[in-house]
């Protein structure tokens, strides 16, 4: 049952959530203009369908769902992702993790844009929404095996673009990592 009193008015909803929605939209859409248009669409839908929000605690999750659906609806037919071997997955993991502020934001965005929309959504749910693979599968109505496969391949592609690693450079599984005994 909807508690109208509990759901904030639209202006408050925008004030509270527009930044989170826009950041997510930017990672999905890839440009300021498209991200802003997508964000406006999300709040327009939110304004029209406020009754679907069950509680104030779930507003952000609901807005993210609206965002993902709006993004995927606006996408062209899905493009494939290149098949990757297991070596490719592992070799893209750098020997030493850079601090978050040293990761090139432009490169990250370019790498995301090279992913097909469905993969971009899965990897964004993992990194931005902090969803488990099980939650991703439930929210997207996908088999869990499909989510795990998409997630692994999308993450590996992101890393390969971000860190530009090959098996020789990346401290792949077959090699000793540069930061030996760096377990924390």
């Amino acid at each position: 049952m909807v508690d109208d009193e509990a759901i904030p008015p639209i202006a408050q909803l925008i004030a509270d959530h527009h930044q989170a929605v826009y950041r997510y939209a930017y990672r999905l859409a890839g440009s300021v203009a498209d991200a802003e248009d997508l964000t406006q669409q999300v709040f327009l839908i939110a304004h029209e369908k406020r009754e679907q929000v069950r509680s104030p605690e779930t507003v952000r999750t609901w807005l993210f769902t609206v965002l993902r659906n709006a993004f995927l609806k606006g996408c062209q037919k899905r493009r494939p992702i290149p098949a990757g071997s297991i070596d490719f997955l592992l070799d893209s993991i750098p020997a030493q993790a850079p601090p978050a502020d040293e990761i090139d934001r432009e490169k990250l965005q370019q790498a995301l844009e090279e992913l097909p929309p469905q993969y971009r959504v899965v990897v964004s749910m993992f990194y931005y929404e902090d969803c488990s693979y099980r939650e991703i599968a439930e929210k997207l109505s996908l088999p869990m095996g499909t989510v795990m496969s998409r997630l692994a391949r999308a993450k590996a592609l992101l890393r390969s673009k971000l860190f530009g690693l090959s098996g020789e450079q990346g401290g792949g599984v077959g090699q000793q990592p540069r930061a030996a005994n760096s377990r924390g």
């Binding site: 202006a11 950041r23 203009a33 494939p80 978050a100 890393r159 760096s182 377990r183």
Partner: protein, 293 residues
């Protein structure tokens, strides 16, 4: 011989599915991975490294600069309704759709401003003779037909691995709905025929539409071998480079006890998924029949 855990795709996928800074690894569904981590220092080192990298990427993911005045523009659009899209104030930015339309309509080296300023269009249109309009229409139709033909014939861009993954995922989804009992041969679809490799060695239990197989529609046939092994054949009209023209006697092992193979003939891709291991698969395609290159 024990398999190297760092070469096990299922373990690596599970490794990738553990969220940074979470206790995912402690949950029961990850217990096989946890056991392997305890037994393999290499895999454990990989896990720790991946967790650190994922934490850094997650941090970068959320770092997006905010445009000025966004909240006000959103509110203005919401209050005005959908008809009044409120444009962003960022200079030089256009939506991708607007850019694509502009590029498609305007010739190279002609800016939109130039195009608008050179636009006595109504006057020019009135002077175009009838044969000009007919020629333009014929040209447009020809281009349209060409585009459709190109789209239908070009390679999909998917790899054989994608087709097999998709077949296995669909089979696992449908497992609980596996049909029983015979079905009429009328269930065979002319536009998605049963592979000739299978036609005389299986009984078709049922055929059904598949709405989305790697983005294309198709048909699935639930099959029984003469010895009673169950399988599903997915047939879809698309091109996937690298597929053999006939099924291999050596299938790929899939998840949850499935095995699969894919091949392509006459513009159709066949993905054959057996709900069982290699022995069950070979009830459909015995090794003794010869190996496929």
């Amino acid at each position: 011989m024990d398999q190297d855990p760092t070469r096990n795709p299922r373990l690596i996928e599970a490794l990738e599915a553990c969220r940074p800074g979470s206790n995912d690894i402690d949950s029961p569904e990850f217990s096989p991975l946890a056991a392997e981590l305890a037994a393999s220092p290499r895999l454990d080192e990989l896990y720790e490294r991946l967790q650190r990298v994922d934490a850094a990427v997650a941090g970068a993911f959320a770092d997006v600069p905010m445009p000025e005045g966004l909240a006000e523009r959103i509110l203005a659009r919401v209050l005005a309704g959908d008809k009044a899209k409120v444009p962003a104030t960022v200079e030089g930015e256009k939506s991708a759709i607007a850019r694509a339309v502009e590029q498609a309509v305007l010739p190279a080296n002609v800016s939109q401003a130039e195009a608008i300023s050179n636009r006595p269009a109504a006057a020019r249109a009135a002077k175009v003779p009838l044969w000009g309009w007919v020629s333009a229409a014929v040209l447009l139709i020809a281009v349209g037909v060409g585009v459709v033909a190109y789209v239908n014939s070009r390679p999909s861009g998917y790899a054989p691995h994608d087709a097999i993954d998709q077949g296995i995922a669909l089979l696992l989804e449908e497992r609980t709905h596996r049909p029983t009992g015979p079905a009429a041969t009328a269930d065979l679809r002319e536009d998605y025929p049963l592979s000739s490799e299978l036609a005389d060695r299986v009984r078709v239990l049922r055929s059904r539409e598949v709405a989305d197989f790697l983005g294309e529609p198709g048909v699935a046939y639930d099959l029984l071998s003469r010895t009673g092994a169950a399988a599903t054949l997915y047939v879809v009209r698309m091109r996937i480079p690298g597929l053999p023209s006939s099924p291999s006697p050596f299938p790929q092992p899939g998840t949850q006890g499935t095995t699969a193979a894919a091949w392509a003939t006459d513009g159709l891709v066949y993905v054959f998924v057996v709900d069982g291991d290699e022995r069950e698969y070979q009830q459909f395609f015995p090794q003794s029949e010869g190996e496929v290159a």
